[in-house]
């Protein structure tokens, strides 16, 4: 971004966030007590969020515990993450793949907060709506899914709203939800092959036509072609027009 960054507004003006977020630790304590060993990882970002990673078998129980014990009756969303780095790179710097980190199929995947051992994780966000007077609580659950058995228990009996989210997750990632009343395609046509949000599914529109953003950095007439400045090219589009 080429915006003039005027003034010296200190970005670190806000005081150090307290290292311990007692409220969220409290929620975590409640959930750990209820679920026992099923909690395999957790992460508290003070003032921002609580992540709880549970074993796949207790995915449903975890959501139920949050609903009953923390009052998280609002089903916010459910989705999945594919932690494999994209073998197609990020497309944007060149007509051929130039990933920031070249793809190495044998490398282990880095996973995000609260850890993870598998390529696929499902996650969902539940919140309570006690509003001004009560104590707000919200929690993000994650669960690892082994590659050879991408299935997890459906949350539809607990939250009606999980229906569409699980259908979307099923067609985008190929994750089966046991007990779902009807896993049908939501967005994609019925004959669609493949799981588009998996990292190994190529974005074909980008492969057949190079990213138009790179046209912006072609050299001025009479000027020798400048060295490919990957980052400058990538940055070019955000500003203009």
């Amino acid at each position: 971004m080429s915006d003039t960054t005027t003034g010296d507004v200190a970005t670190e003006a806000q005081e150090e966030a307290p290292e311990v977020d007692e409220v969220r630790q409290g929620w975590l304590g409640t959930l750990t007590e209820a679920l026992g060993d099923a909690v395999v990882g957790s992460h508290v970002a003070p003032g921002r969020g609580l992540w709880v990673r549970v074993s796949r078998d207790s995915w449903f129980d975890a959501a139920e515990a949050a609903k009953d014990l923390l009052g998280c009756t609002l089903f916010d969303f459910l989705s999945a993450i594919d932690w494999m780095p994209s073998p197609w790179g990020r497309y944007e710097d060149s007509s051929v793949d130039v990933g920031i980190k070249p793809f190495d199929p044998s490398a282990s995947f880095a996973t995000g907060v609260a850890g993870g051992d598998t390529r696929f994780q499902v996650f969902c966000h539940l919140a309570n709506v006690r509003g001004r007077d009560g104590q707000r609580a919200d929690v993000i659950f994650k669960a690892d899914l082994p590659d050879d058995d991408l299935r997890v228990r459906s949350l539809v009996p607990l939250f009606g709203g999980a229906n569409w989210h699980e259908r979307e997750c099923w067609e985008m990632f190929g994750i089966t939800f046991d007990g779902h009343p009807g896993l049908r395609h939501l967005y994609l046509p019925g004959e669609f092959e493949g799981y588009p949000l998996r990292k190994d599914f190529p974005l074909l529109a980008r492969l057949v036509k190079p990213w138009p953003g790179i046209v912006d950095v072609e050299p001025m007439p009479g000027e020798p072609a400048a060295a490919e400045d990957a980052e400058g090219g990538a940055n070019g589009d955000g500003e203009q027009s």
């Binding site: 916010d76 996650f123 709203g161 004959e191």
Partner: protein, 391 residues
């Protein structure tokens, strides 16, 4: 570049299959009624399939996906500043509001906070997006129920709001104005006075609509007691925004969400709820919300702090590794972005939680047992934008 033949074939097949319809209609006794995809009540291309017994719906399903654009996939091949261009197009009537939660999530990961002036202007534009969006809803609501006049009033007065948004951002519909660490530009000269005049105009539009519609006997007859959503059902379906406040749940992320980076906490306003949970309640709450939004804009314009509009951000934006989920109260309801960054120029994964998706997912439950004309009332009162369902 090696694309396996199978994948290419799958792509071609998918393109061909796009042309076909993707739901199998069961055919037994009773009549199947298709509403949409090209129906004015669908704000885009949503199809509602209803199986009827006489005039009553016995089963209904929603077919979405006619406008699925795959923003979650596209965001993975964009840089962070480029993503706002995409997400602008999710809820196209309140575009600026779409950018805000994404930018806030990126700011959270980078541990940047926008300066006070940027936060205020951001909130002003955020609320103006809401005014522009809901103004159209109020007018369109009349059109759905057979009253033609309000829609002209709505388009007339919304235009002034869009003019003000255009004066700042250069775009009527797709501002693409929010930046990580602040805003692209400051307000133009004379803008504040004009805006306050426009807000006055919107308030008088609200009065007009209230008189024309909400006091109207036919309107009441068609909306009162129709499409009742109890609070616990609304919550389990993840309804948010006016749809949940119309069910009596006092929940507004502007007040309760603890969102850092917006200035709603600095002004005085009220969260309206209605206990009934029917179509009337949802529409009424939206009317009050429009009024509150104009008040928020007025107060923020009065108390606009000076100073810079951008925090210090690097020219090349690389977002540190981490995950953040930020949700704000958008015109249609709660909208959030779950952003996973791997320390790259672009996000590793973006999960877009859009309000209409959850709000509309209740339709199969809600439409069961209603009469045919009420389908349109219910669709109108839930108020969705198709881009916000399909993303």
């Amino acid at each position: 570049m090696t694309v396996t033949e199978r994948q290419q074939r799958a792509y071609v097949d998918a393109q061909a299959a796009d042309a076909r319809v993707n739901v199998e209609l069961e055919t037994d006794e009773g009549m199947t009624l298709n509403i949409g995809p090209q129906h004015p009540a669908t704000h885009g291309t949503l199809r509602v399939v209803a199986k009827l017994d006489g005039e009553q719906v016995v089963w209904a399903d929603v077919v979405a996906g006619y406008m699925h654009r795959g923003y979650e996939k596209l965001a993975e091949v964009r840089t962070f500043p480029q993503v706002t261009t995409l997400v602008n197009r999710i809820d196209w009537l309140g575009s600026f509001a779409n950018e805000v939660p994404f930018i806030l999530a990126a700011e959270q990961l980078m541990e940047i906070e926008a300066p006070a002036r940027a936060r205020h202007i951001r909130t002003i534009l955020f609320e103006m997006a809401r005014v522009a969006n809901i103004t159209l809803f109020l007018g369109d609501l009349g059109a759905q129920l057979g009253a033609v006049t309000p829609v002209f009033y709505a388009f007339r007065d919304r235009e002034h709001v869009l003019d003000q948004i255009e004066a700042v951002t250069g775009g009527r519909f797709h501002p693409n104005f929010d930046r990580i660490g602040g805003l692209k530009d400051d307000l133009p000269k004379g803008w504040i006075a004009d805006t306050k005049a426009v807000m006055e105009r919107i308030r008088s539009f609200c009065d007009q609509v209230e008189e024309l519609l909400f006091g109207n006997e036919i309107f009441e007859a068609r909306t009162r007691g129709v499409g009742v959503v109890p609070a616990e059902v609304a919550l389990s379906y993840g309804l948010t925004g006016a749809s949940i406040r119309g069910s009596g749940v006092d929940w507004d992320l502007r007040r309760d969400g603890g969102v850092i980076g917006l200035a709603h906490g600095d002004v005085d306003w009220k969260v309206w709820t209605h206990p009934d949970g029917d179509c009337f309640a949802r529409c009424w709450v939206r009317l009050q919300e429009t009024r509150e939004a104009t008040k928020i804009v007025d107060q923020l314009c009065d108390g606009l702090p000076g100073g810079p509009i951008m925090a210090k951000v690097p020219r090349i934006i690389k977002v540190p590794e981490g995950e953040a989920y930020v949700e704000t109260e958008n015109p249609l309801g709660a909208m959030g972005y779950y952003v996973v960054s791997r320390g790259d120029l672009g996000p590793f994964r973006v999960k877009i939680r859009s309000a209409s998706f959850s709000n509309v997912s209740i339709l199969p439950w809600l439409l069961r047992g209603v009469y045919v004309p009420d389908i349109i009332t219910i669709l109108a009162s839930l108020y969705f934008i198709l881009g916000d369902i399909d993303r």
